[in-house]
Symmetry: C2
Subunit: 491 residues, 2 copies
Amino acid sequence: MLKELDLKTKIPEEEYTPLIKQLKPRLTMLQQEIIKKKIPVIIIFEGLSAAGKGAAVNSLILNFDARGYTVYNTRPPQPDELRLPWLARFMDQIPSYGRISIFDRSWYSGVLMPGVKSEKSASARIESIKIFERQLADDGYLILKFYLYISKKEQKKRLEALRDDPHTAWRVTETDWENVKQYDAITSRSEKLILQTDAPYAKWQAVAATDRRYARVRIFSAIADAMEHALARKRESIPQAEFSPVPETRFTLLPHKKIEEMDLMPSVNEEEYRRLLKQYQKKLFELQNALYLKKIPVIIAYEGNDAAGKGGNIKRVAAALDARSYAVTPVAAPSPDELNHQYLWRFWKSLPRTGHFAIFDRTWYGRVLVERVEALTSISRINQAYHEINEFEYMLHRWGAVLFKFWLAIDKDEQLCRFEQRESTPEKQWKITEEDWRNRDKWDQYTAAVNDMFRYTNTDFAPWIVVEAGDKKFARLKTLKTMIDILKKRV
Amino acid sequence: MLKELDLKTKIPEEEYTPLIKQLKPRLTMLQQEIIKKKIPVIIIFEGLSAAGKGAAVNSLILNFDARGYTVYNTRPPQPDELRLPWLARFMDQIPSYGRISIFDRSWYSGVLMPGVKSEKSASARIESIKIFERQLADDGYLILKFYLYISKKEQKKRLEALRDDPHTAWRVTETDWENVKQYDAITSRSEKLILQTDAPYAKWQAVAATDRRYARVRIFSAIADAMEHALARKRESIPQAEFSPVPETRFTLLPHKKIEEMDLMPSVNEEEYRRLLKQYQKKLFELQNALYLKKIPVIIAYEGNDAAGKGGNIKRVAAALDARSYAVTPVAAPSPDELNHQYLWRFWKSLPRTGHFAIFDRTWYGRVLVERVEALTSISRINQAYHEINEFEYMLHRWGAVLFKFWLAIDKDEQLCRFEQRESTPEKQWKITEEDWRNRDKWDQYTAAVNDMFRYTNTDFAPWIVVEAGDKKFARLKTLKTMIDILKKRV
């Protein structure tokens, strides 16, 4: 692919000027449409050292209103970023709807550049990239990827020119000369990567970049065409992505009992509770220290019926942990900024560093629970979500995280009893709102959504754990005991 | 202060239990009020190693609804954070209105901890802290600072106990033992720092932390009392801060001509323009390389009349720079999240790293321009803003940044002419809105605001530069030439 490019392609000055004069205002006006139609755009520039990535970015942005784009230069990760899943550090750079993010190097550098030693890790990253880009495309993102290519001779010539100009000499590093030496190896690696990550919804374009005028015209027209195409699809309400909305799952799903078939009332006596609570909390504290040392991240996802006792349950877990090593992320309705991104985006941003705990009080499952019951999202996006969530959890699992998914379950009568109790206790009144009563009216719809959630997201690497919560004390002991049993095996 | 604490103070179990039983629900209910009344709260824990900061945080948060607080553990800065002004890395941790941020170590660690070598740097940081906390308090922030203190003997005993428990042994580091040795020196340094940064609106509380029960009761009641006090002030609409709203300026203000006294129409011919533009852009490019190597940050603030040509001017500057080294931050109306923070907060978050350029298309001066003319903010907060802005720029200046403040000026007739031209050119129509016409109706009020801005923010370290923009070409050359002349002196 790269090797087949005609690197001698040129555009003479007299053809270039009229072409570019037409392209520039076209890009300017298209960006305004992109903003109006709220289409998010990702433009990636990868390529050889000195191939002209910086110049391409530089000339491109002069056509755009600065209020609508941001340029990101991907540098090696900071130490703290190495303690997060590999893609997490790019999350702040993903554009919100209607914005353009331009990458001078991107997540692909994490695969192409030295630093990724083992094949295994590179192939894991490639798999993550593919999932990630497909999920974004499914959400309406326009993704453009350019690879700028020049000959070895040209690369050397450009680096020498930079070196010989006293103002730019410092820019040429040892790595650059090393890259010239490794030219053939880098080309092969890049070709392979391009083939592996090319997709109809996130297409690679290899650009012969010897002639800057030619490269510029190629890039500008590709971007203008893609924007026009995306705008046309939006006008016709054709989904941006070009594949079936509910992909066949590639994960192994385990069977799960329906919630109404389970006994939710097992209980424990006060004395036993006090004894075991103390014992379990002590054990969890010890395990936490061991997990910290082994740098294993732990993610605890709490879902459950309203008033099932999530808050109190979380407090008993938190009380056992060191405040420095965990954070509770309460998940409420998304903020305006969160609504302007793919729905998993905000959860990527709350993941724990290695060795830490992240506790979610409600989770990404809101997509297939409240958003489904309240019809906040189209049925096709919700159907996709089961699969997207499994993929998300799969990435967490393969990163090395221990993931607990607790469903705290009570029955309808027990909920009524608790609601009434909250209303009559002054310091608990803030816990009960009109919305809780409205949700209760939809009990059966919620139950159906919960059973579907069990059915489609009970993967072998991230199974659901139903916590019978008719007796809050029993529930607290069960979550603690479950965590201890599983974490013990990891340290 | 620390040395005068009675470290033997204790609360016996039988007194503790009823006290804490009363304090815990009080804190729970107060947090709900804090959320409702949108009061932002900062709670800082500093103190000796093993004094119980972590335990204090741990016990405190169990009283709070997780939806309303976040805990931050301040660790040494990441390499990238060292390339920003010292306080910038804390900006993401400043709570929005109604939220609580709890710090286990904070900005004070940057002064107390090893790493701050010179006295000069420590005293500069202390000055920044004082400005920063006062500005937050002026904005309604409740700031609580606890210093937990124990005896040298007790510190040693606790570290030994941690070391002897196999589950916690790894937590005790060389630094901890070093701290025991340096006990007296650390105490003196801390005492001095506490005295220097104590203020009625950001009070230090030294807590004898030998007895954990006593420390807990002291901390819980201090927080509960302060919250009640803040809520009472809010109910009575008494400003949170306790000092005069317009502090006497400590900066040297330079005289500045009124805008109506200036000739805004100097011009340049096309040929001269083309020649000089090329020459200046080349020179700026060279300077940028030198500034990058010297790690000098450059901040370019663009303000000016609507249609004065800010966008085109910025493009000519940007075209000279490497895309990797600058970012344009367009400043529009604040987002909901930004409205829920002190108004300078969002600008802290867009500062350049050392060696980079940050270009602001409109700036923090919106506070004293549009917010004043449109009466979006109380007159007393706007009067404070002149001083707060000077302080902000002073911190940038002392950090080592070169700050340019350009006012692009056209007269009323010229603006009308440009508005009409925009309306009749298809690819420029997006640039002109109803709001532009409304702003134009308030031309005289804006002019008065601009003259006041010159009068009160034309400091010797960050003077205004009026760019006569009746001829756009002249204006572009002037900004470039001004930058070159000043930057030349810095490299």
